[in-house]
Amino acid sequence: MSTPENNPRRQFIAAAGAGVAGLGFTVIAPGLHLMAVGEAKAATEARKAGSAASPVVRWGLLIDANKCAPGCTKCIDACHTENGVSETLPDARQNSQWIRKIELVDRRDGRVTQLPMMCQHCANPPCVDVCPTGASMKRADGIVLVDRHTCIGCRYCMMACPYKARSFVHAPLTEQNPEVPRGQGCVESCTLCVHRVDKGQTPACVESCPTGAMTFGDLNDPASDIAKRIASVPTTQVRSDLRLNQAVRYQGI
């Protein structure tokens, strides 16, 4: 006989609510999330040990293509060193590239620009929608990651990504950075150096850029450098027609 105290339905609802709150958000439909109310936000300081990533923060990058120097690959070198991306396979098309320099020539007037392209950390990531196991995921603070514990290597996310941001690891690896596990048979992409960000540092590419073309920060904090710049100069999101609302924005294209 159930009483208000031991009513099984109430207990279920209470447990489900606690479970949902523990997750930090609820997926209603692709691209729609119920955000939990966050705790004290962390800016570029290290997040307190034991505290979860919070949706109050949204990490982003602003890249000024005007300042990007032709022929310079310091961001790529820094990224690949930091993340232990070091394999050179016989077919170079099978090598992983977390970040790459793209040279653009405007078809109308021939103007040449370069910029680094990496995972755009979309708010509505197509890669997350299509992943069968949920390995491709968006963390509460906006960083899109691959959970390599559950990735089965189907490469569907690589088909879905509009920016060709993802790479597949084609061979066994032994030279990984202990802070950046990566391995054969799983898909990977730029993590916004999540292991550095959680310690209060900036991504390796940002730190290495000699011209200061890359800015990193909390898009949700109006007092941060990045938010102030985005509010004051025109910036674009690449393929904004897809309405993916990326965290990476560009200036000068």
């Binding site: 990533a53 930091e82 232990g84």
Partner: protein, 130 residues
Amino acid sequence: MKLLRTLVTIFAALTAVSPAPTLAGEGGRTAKPLVEIANPGKCVAPVDEMRRNHMEMLKHQRDRSLRQGIRGEPASLNACIECHASKTSGSVLGGKENFCQSCHSYVAVKLDCFECHQPKARFKAAGLKP
């Protein structure tokens, strides 16, 4: 029939004479894994609990670290490796006494972790130009 009996006798004799394969070398008939504890001392939890539960600890903690971004948890795989890596090889894999490999080879449980995780302690990665 006589041939079979001869063969069985020879086989029994050889078995009685050959030493039982013990790695630990403490006598008894069951082989035990020889585990090299590079830094003996206090682990995250008592040995019995670690033996029985380390897989569950690592499994839940990996989701908290990766999916929720909670850092600084006690059962960090890197911390285990730092402490337990062999002093000679610098790794928890590679030889039959090395910490993770010894028990896992003994119980024949495949180690999936090191497909992605770096088994050498304090390893500094170097990248290459594309």
